[in-house]
């Protein structure tokens, strides 16, 4: 695969004072360097998708062949072994082709930077703040569709950083900070994921203010101090705002719920770190639209796929050990009290038989969202190609995509964060009673 060489050297452009033209240098330098190194071809994305569809069909036919051979009754053993070997080779060839084609869809994250700089420039002017936007995205590449999907969330985060994070010039001087605030866009690859961060050197998120507002809006309980992760979680609640007035910049409020929704639609997650030195919003998205390591689980009649990344452990849960309070189950495990969720009930496709003694469960990991998910059956690990739901809509936000398991069967991809969301909005059941 010929990868386009892309040099997005750290662009460090001062955005304020107004009147500075938004920098346009990056795309030109990119195409110039590409022309020097390799010849390139422009291809319509649909053509690449046609190739991918063909490859998926090939893979499908191959697994049908697999099954046919495995179930053929009296096939000669040696012949079978020989066939299996050929099929393995075929499989790896198709898969590597698939990856090559997916690579063709990659575009540089750096192509987003000029747009973000223009947004930062106008947002800074509107807020009357001095801001510079620096980007360190090197040659990081992400699937074209995901890059397109990142535009709105990143624009939102940049505006938020200017509106809520970066202080006014006078305040920054008083604090002994550089009077010009800095927003950094950093991107790097990490395994099959790409991480894009929006980092500001502002005052950080005022957690006690968020807590106060969240309590007033009934998003957090009054009777105890939630942990920081829970307070930060409120920022993603639909309609949550710390603003008294509506600003033209970030609209009604932080609006992070929309950002998270977009990121999750692509199988990504968003994380927040905040402190006195500023705020770091980290977007973690798959580099290619596709392959996701998943764990198959069954709830009711259907199979669902959980991202392996959030699965800490597959366990058996003794139903008698589950404590019930206010309609929510919980289980003590290793000094921790974990909420117990019934997948079939969450999806409205059934529920765990209360008479069952031991029930298979999956322990989900992740800051502030530890939980045990009861399922009807835990299946195999599987690398799956994830796809969107297309036109289909579900009232269950945790169903974020589809994939193919087995020969032509469709399974839905689940987002465990969204599965556990309702609980985290209301706070975890008393954790510190012990």
């Amino acid at each position: 695969v010929v990868r386009r060489a892309f040099v997005a050297a750290s662009i460090d452009e001062r955005i304020h004072p107004p009147g500075t033209a938004a920098p346009e240098g990056a795309p030109e330098s990119a195409s110039a360097s590409a022309a020097q190194s390799t010849a390139t071809v422009r291809v319509r994305v649909e053509r690449i998708d046609g190739l991918l569809e063909g490859l998926a069909g090939l893979l499908h036919a191959k697994s049908a062949l697999d099954e046919a051979i495995a179930s053929s009754p009296a096939a000669d053993r040696m012949q079978r072994t020989a066939l299996a070997q050929i099929l393995r080779r075929l499989d790896s060839t198709i898969r590597s082709l698939q990856e090559d084609v997916l690579d063709v869809r990659l575009v540089a994250v750096g192509t987003l930077v000029p747009k973000l700089q223009r947004i930062a420039w106008s947002a800074a002017r509107e807020a009357g703040k001095s801001v510079r936007l620096a980007a360190d995205v090197r040659d990081v590449e992400v699937d074209k569709e995901i890059v397109d999907a990142l535009v709105a969330p990143l624009a939102h985060l940049v505006r938020n950083a200017i509106d809520h994070g970066i202080e006014e010039e006078r305040e920054r001087r008083r604090l002994g900070k550089d009077p010009v605030g800095t927003i950094r866009i950093d991107a790097r690859g990490e395994g099959a994921e790409t991480i894009v961060e929006v980092v500001d050197d502002g005052s950080g998120i005022d957690l006690s203010r968020v807590l106060e507002k969240a309590r007033r809006q009934g998003l957090l309980p009054n009777d105890r101090r939630p942990v920081d992760a829970e307070i930060l979680e409120v920022l993603f609640a639909p309609g949550f705002t710390t603003r008294e007035t509506v600003s033209t910049l970030s609209g009604r409020g932080v609006g992070l719920d929309a950002v998270r929704e977009t990121i999750q639609r692509w199988g990504g997650i968003i994380e927040v770190e905040t402190g006195a030195k500023g705020t770091r919003m980290r977007l973690r998205v798959p580099t290619t639209r596709a392959i996701l390591s998943g764990l198959l689980v069954r709830a009711g009649r259907e199979t669902y796929v959980l991202p392996l990344a959030v699965v800490a452990q597959v366990i058996k849960v003794r139903l008698a050990d589950v404590e019930h309070r206010n309609g929510e189950g919980s289980l003590r495990r290793g000094g921790q009290t974990l909420p117990v969720l019934d997948l079939a009930a969450l999806l409205g496709v059934g529920q765990v038989d209360p008479a069952a003694g031991l029930v298979p469960g999956v322990r989900l990991a992740g800051p502030g969202r530890e939980a045990i998910l009861l399922v009807d059956e835990v299946g195999a690990r599987r690398d799956v190609v994830s796809r969107g739901l297309g036109l289909a809509r579900s009232s269950i936000p945790a169903i974020v995509g589809t994939t193919e398991v087995g020969s032509g069967r469709t399974a839905y991809l689940l987002d465990p964060v969204l599965l556990t969301e309702r609980r985290s909005k209301w706070g975890a059941p008393e954790e510190k009673t012990a």
């Binding site: 991918l52 569809e53 063909g54 490859l55 998926a56 069909g57 893979l59 499908h60 009649r301 259907e302 999806l347 409205g348 496709v349 796809r387 969107g388 739901l389 297309g390 036109l391 289909a392 809509r393 579900s394 009232s395 269950i396 169903i399 589809t402 193919e404 032509g408 069967r409 469709t410 399974a411 839905y412």
Partner: protein, 126 residues
């Protein structure tokens, strides 16, 4: 004159009714496929099928209420030719017919079109 009004239609049965779609709207009528029900989807959506390696949401135009045990649904799928693909679950494919409006009425064929199906099934106006 009547020649000009004559349309080529793909016809199929849903329950006891004969429906039709313009042949230009139809990409393929598949063999019997199993539809995976989508939890939380509106009643008009039967679920999703994997067709040629792609996920295709499938409409359920049947009038009777969904069976209480929400058992799996299977049947041929009429896949529509659209940028955003979707299908219609049918009970039986009928064929391809050239028909004029009078014949449609006479034979009580309900003519469907992609646009109104999109709006009806997915609340999408396109």
């Amino acid at each position: 004159m009547t020649q000009a009004l004559r349309r080529t239609l793909v016809t199929f049965w849903i329950e006891t009714k004969l429906f039709a779609l313009d042949v230009l709207d139809v990409q393929e009528v598949t063999p019997v496929l199993e539809v995976t029900p989508l939890p939380g989807a509106p009643r008009s959506v039967a679920g999703v099928v994997t067709w040629r390696g792609a996920s295709v949401p499938v409409l359920d135009l049947r009038e009777h209420d969904a069976s209480p045990d929400s058992s799996r649904v299977r049947g041929p799928i009429v896949v529509l030719r659209r940028p955003e693909r979707f299908g219609v679950l049918v009970d039986r494919a009928d064929g391809i017919r050239r028909m004029e409006p009078a014949a449609l009425e006479r034979e009580q064929v309900t003519c469907l079109d992609a646009k109104s199906l999109l709006a009806r099934g997915f609340g999408r106006t396109a």
